[in-house]
Symmetry: C2
Subunit: 346 residues, 2 copies
DNA sequence: CTGAAAGCGCTTACAG
DNA sequence: CTGAAAGCGCTTACAG
């Protein structure tokens, strides 16, 4: 037989009163001692800490949060939890927040839900002290709305002016890829981005496109429109985009794909056509995904976990009262491997 | 200038009193109406719901949890957050829990921390209604300890007798891989597992090994000890294990690796040796990682996200009072692709 | 440095 | 079906 909500255990939890009683002090003193407040005699503090440990006392978080008005919880919103990039970010954030004794409340938000976020997601309502946006791509207009929220906001993966953000220098990363290919002798360079179907302007592909085109123009090269494809940032999207490029009358000899996953798709397309990557077509990705090394993918590496850590630290600073809007660019660098080589004609 | 803990907003949040006042009822009635309790006149309920919406009222979760004694939070413990497998599980869990209005509190626990979990992780103390263990590999002995916890426990990724668990039939999956290779004509089969250095018995590799050896013995084949390697369930571990196998006087003609990531490592090793996968050596993985398709990896596919969903549903059942220890096996199947073919000699 | 007491915003027997 | 009131377990001015 089943009963809803039956109590799980007979023994009532030890609470702050038990500790206060055992220590012969008031609950106020226990509370102060255990949270390292000033103005508690060192001897008293030590005694209380020892007793609390003996009793296995841990403050009830819900009560503490209610009383203090601080939820000690950070919300993290992301459209997709399962990409390598996102889970790496989450791991970095979690690492820092756990140390700072903050909880992480994760919400997945598709593009439709973006609006809801801006007016305060019901899920997060009154429950978080700040919100981290990962790959939400709100762009500058959305960012202004965000900055008007009552909560500190930190955006990861996109550089924004009106709100604190941390991201790599996307233009520079793309330029690195372009330079590498130019040095190898390539003159016909394709580029595969994504999200061009989104309803909002999306800074990341735009910045990378800019950096790529810019680096080419320095040496007098241009990217013809038919060399620009949308790969939707997915493996299969990268595959199909690459097929389209290779079906052109005069296909590019090298392609820069804005994510490693799209680059894996490109390698797949080459296998399907019986072509050899790095010889028949050079491929550069972006991210330095763990699989990239094993397949020999040349890529622009970004320290994703570090981005997560840094974002969490900036959030902690904001919670500590910092009102500054900061932007932290993070290092990135080209990792040359086997998927790039001189063009076939050369 | 910075001030710690300064209040973020001037407007006080609307609370249950505001709603009660506006509706001309007591807070008790508001609380009941908003949580679909019985014994509230339908007309009253409707009116309260409308008013609450107008006022944008959302109950303060911390207060509700303190008063009710239920935290409506599920803890999830995992040694590694960033593997594809884990993030896929988390996504499935999150999907189900969010619908049921439960929060997810994630903790990463390395092997060292396993003991702490059993005696109640301080992080989770009094804060969760149940705990989900993902890939913690506690084995039967640990499971018995777990079942004595005051909290409902569901283990994912490993089948256990004394605690509710959901996993694939690992022996059958390995047997599928063996059969596929036997049918292709292979007679010298290697196997790469992992975690043999862990302090606890680890069911998953053991079961897979058993299934593999069992399927071979049916056709009169055995796996010599030198054909068994530890790949540590990492890409590089798989790579090094494969190198070791290929350096044997008489190497296997096919290798089953217990994860796709190790299989990616095996493919890497082959490239390093200038060998062709599927021709010089056949490779079978386990998981059906998204990248597997793009590199043409033959693998044993498991529906990872569904395992997460199912685990969350079982947890919800347990919270609803079900005392039954359940085990839910989940389907899996061989996905034949390009990394397997007949043995070179044939 | 410490304590008495109010209060955080809910939920839930209990009594109608 | 509804309300008055106690209570959940803390934190924090306020007063000493």
């Amino acid at each position: 037989m089943r009963m809803s909500h039956e109590p799980r255990s007979g023994k009532p939890r030890v609470n702050i009163n038990d500790v206060a009683h055992a220590a012969g002090v008031s609950t106020a003193t226990v509370s102060r001692a255990l949270r390292d407040h000033p103005y508690v005699a060192e001897a008293t503090r030590q005694r209380i800490i020892r007793i609390a440990e003996d009793l296995h006392y841990v403050a009830n978080a819900n009560a503490a949060r209610l009383a203090s008005g601080q939820s000690r919880t950070i919300g993290l919103l992301t459209p997709l939890l399962t990409s390598w990039y996102t889970s790496e970010i989450v791991a970095g954030v979690e690492e820092v927040l756990t140390l700072a004794q903050y909880d992480l409340l994760i919400g997945t938000a598709n593009a439709m839900a973006r609006e809801r976020i801006f007016r305060g997601d019901a899920r997060f309502h009154q429950r978080i002290d700040g919100v981290l946006l990962v790959d939400v791509f709100c762009s500058e207009a959305g960012a202004r709305q965000l900055s008007e929220m009552e909560l500190p906001v930190v955006v990861l993966g996109e550089q924004l002016r009106s709100v604190t953000s941390v991201s790599v220098d996307n233009a520079r990363g793309a330029a690195l890829a372009a330079q590498h290919l130019i040095e190898l002798g390539h003159r016909r360079l394709g580029i595969v981005g994504g999200h061009s179907n989104l309803d909002v302007a999306h800074n990341v592909p735009t910045e990378r496109m800019g950096g790529f085109v810019g680096a080419l123009s320095v040496v007098g090269l241009r990217v013809p429109p038919e060399y620009v494809e949308d790969g939707d940032f997915t493996i299969d999207g990268g595959r199909r985009a690459t097929h389209r490029l290779l079906e052109l009358a005069e296909p590019p000899t090298a392609v820069f794909l804005m994510s490693d996953e799209m680059a894996f798709g490109a390698m797949w397309a080459l296998r399907e056509r019986g072509l050899q990557v790095g010889r028949d077509l050079s491929i550069v990705g972006f991210d330095n995904h763990p699989v990239a090394e094993s397949v020999g993918l040349t890529t622009v590496g970004q320290p994703v976990r570090e981005i997560g850590r840094l974002g969490a630290r900036l959030m902690l600073e904001a919670l500590d009262g910092s009102e500054d809007v900061q932007h932290h660019p993070v290092e990135l660098g080209l990792v040359a491997r086997d998927t790039t080589g001189p063009p076939p004609a050369a």
